[in-house]
Amino acid sequence: MGTMAEAAPQTPARPRRSYGSLTGLLVVPASLWYLVLLVVPLLIVVVMSFGEKSRLGGYQPAFTLDNYIDALDPQRVSPFITSLAMAVSGTILCLLAALPIAYFIATRGGRRKSLLILLLIVPFWTSFLIRTYAWLTILGPDGLGGFIGTLIGDSSFRILGTPFAVLLGIVYAYLPLMVFPIYVTMERMDRTLIEASKDLGASRWGTFRQVTLPITATGLITGSILVFIPLMGEYVVPAILGYGRVFLIGNQLVLQFLESRNWPEGSARAVVLIAIMLVTVIFYVWFVNRGRRTREVSVL
């Protein structure tokens, strides 16, 4: 306190300084949160990934690269590839489904805007697990799967346990995460730009492509990343709707941590997964922003 009081007369910027220390104080809880719940666990995972499985399962300290060699073994990388394929196609499908929805609500919603947004949120009031189990009944042998089977006269036809069922479940679960960011950017867009574009003779498609789409790019990127990242770790939908026939990296992690109880091997795979996600997301942001002057990297 003494030093601060002494320094005060000499530095006119004193209010600014106390403002800075207040900010510092305010970010302490958040920093602690990130340190304890993100940085520390991440470090533990990295440390474990170089360890060995103890006799009774779990972790025992060691330094070996075996877990990484094993994780990148060409014979055993198929879950990574399946996950990547599922996450990319899931994100694209979400994008294709969300764009028209967000566009419609933002531009044609009118007075029903709030209601329409509410309707998008309503499913979140029910547990994700229950909603996924509901699809079991809808697509099952007594539901749509059996119905289509009878229609085409193939009794062995089924929807459950196929990649299609998994994709459907994924798009259903993650769609709102895509709709909201896109909706927000479209809603905030200056509508006079569209009029200007029309005045200058652009077609509707031209206006959408040259005006609406670039302006909403932030929303598209945010939405895609919000969907893509959890999708890479997804394991519930493939386990329930995919009957375990679609085996993703998330399922492999569950297997290694809970069943084989080989924490070091699971940790190595988790680190590889994080690396894959980082590379993919950075590439994606670079790809979308290439040739632009202002970079929309705020989402990261």
């Binding site: 499985k53 006799r55 009774l56 399962g57 779990g58 055993r76 198929s78 879950p79 547990s127 697990l129 229950i130 099952g140 042998p141 007594d142 062995s156 089924r158 459950l160 346990g161 009957y243 375990g244 026939r245 679609v246 085996f247 399922n251 492999q252 297997l255 290694q256 941590f257 809970l258 069943e259 084989s260 109880r261 080989n262």
Partner: protein
């Protein structure tokens, strides 16, 4: 799931009622039935935790005589430890304790809060404790081959036999076994087998051995369900080739791997929870399953063709056990529970609900004779001789690797 459970329970109650001559007890059962239905509906919330608060009627000064809804209790006398805690935390397999027994225990022993958390398989349970969940629950139900590992890692404590007089009913065949030579660490709960479920309506071939089963899988491609449990799945390829199901011999496991990879593309699902539903709806017509949820299908007209075979080339004998967890917050209530559940009448109800064989000799007097005579539950001595006890194979890396590869190849031809 909840509805199915409820339906099953009510059916059992009704069957009990029909069997019992019209007596006071029979009447009580009928009234208990509706109470149980309401209780079940109230507590069948799905998810992991079922926390059942007792009714307001539960007496706070517990004694059997003071119990307001006596039913069968009136005939029995329970010794309630004077210093018993008011809570009990159980960590168990899903739907593995008769809800009526839970309710009665709460009423008689004045346990106000009974928490029932679930795990899907032994390894998940072990992973929880290895992750530091010690002291969170009082009792648990590992399969016997996990007892030594739990003891060695200090996850469990010794049980005080003086607090469990009903241990006298346990058949001596279950005592002094390799997993607990001194009988201090575990109390047998129930036991069973892993075998083959067949819809004989769809599968005309004979499936009496693991060999026949494995050979038939490709023929019924996409219509075969396996339980999601490595110990059980390994039985088929190992036994079909005449090896021990606990084999750790490299050549034998290589052979097992070859067999498993051959069937993997034809499997509909690995499923420990809903395998019975898949057999019921004919989504699957062949299954490597436990008996739970399968045997009662035989009693329904539309699924009367379901058959459960204990393979002639031998299969596993598993025994689930009650253990007292280390640092249990409520050890007295935990001992009281283990003793309570081995009261012959309570144990009989357990057997009828779970449809697994009981190690409790005195309980057999109260079990439906039809069930006692069912070779799928209480197996004949000749079959029993071919059963092999499960050992703890979770440390064998080759098995873990094969299992992982198998799991990633399901349905991928």
């Amino acid at each position: 799931m909840a509805d199915q459970e409820l339906e099953r329970y009510v059916r059992q109650m009704r069957w009990r009622l029909e069997r019992t001559p019209i007596s006071r007890r029979g009447f009580m059962w009928a009234s208990a039935m509706s109470a149980t239905a309401a209780f079940l509906a109230a507590c069948s919330g799905g998810g992991g935790t079922t926390s059942a608060a007792p009714s307001a009627a539960a007496s706070s000064a517990p004694s059997a005589a003071a119990s307001p809804s006596g039913s069968a209790v009136a005939e029995q006398s329970f010794t309630v430890p004077p210093d018993i805690e008011k809570e009990l935390f159980m960590y168990n397999w899903g739907d593995y304790v008769d809800p009526n027994n839970m309710k009665q225990f709460q009423e008689v022993f004045g346990v106000e809060k009974f928490t029932y958390d679930t795990f899907a398989n032994n390894d998940e349970m072990m992973a929880k404790f290895q992750g530091g969940a010690v002291g969170q629950w009082d009792i648990c139900c590992p399969t016997m081959n996990y007892v030594p590992a739990m003891r060695d890692q200090n996850f469990i404590e010794k049980i005080d036999p003086s607090k469990i007089p009903n241990l006298k009913y346990i058949n001596k065949a279950f005592k002094g076994q390799w997993w607990d030579p001194t009988d201090e660490w575990s109390v047998p709960k129930d036991w069973g087998t892993t075998g083959i479920s067949v819809r004989t309506k769809d599968v005309k071939e004979e499936v009496k051995t693991w060999r026949q089963f494995l050979d038939l899988v490709p023929q019924y491609s996409g219509k075969v369900v396996f339980v999601d449990s490595p110990d059980d799945v390994f039985i088929a390829p190992l036994k079909a080739n005449g090896y021990s199901l606990n084999s750790d011999v490299k050549a034998e496991l290589d052979k097992a791997r070859e067999e498993l990879m051959k069937v993997a593309p034809h499997i509909l699902a690995l499923d420990s929870d809903q395998y019975n539903t898949k057999i019921e709806t004919e989504e699957a017509v062949l299954g490597l399953t436990w008996t739970g949820g399968i045997l009662e299908l035989r009693d329904k007209p539309e699924t009367a063709d379901v058959v459960y075979n204990i393979p002639e080339d031998g299969t596993v004998f598993w025994l689930d056990t009650w253990v007292l967890l280390a640092e249990a917050p409520h050890p007295i209530a935990a001992h009281a529970w283990i003793n309570f559940i081995h009261e012959p009448q309570q144990q009989a109800l357990e057997t009828e609900t779970n449809q697994y064989a009981t190690p409790n000799d005195a309980a057999k007097e109260y079990i439906d004779p039809k069930m006692l005579a069912d070779p799928a539950i209480f197996v004949s001595d000749e079959v029993l001789a071919k059963l092999e006890p499960q050992k703890d194979n979770s440390g064998i890396q080759q098995r873990a690797d094969i299992w992982e590869e198998f799991k990633s190849k399901i349905g991928q031809g």
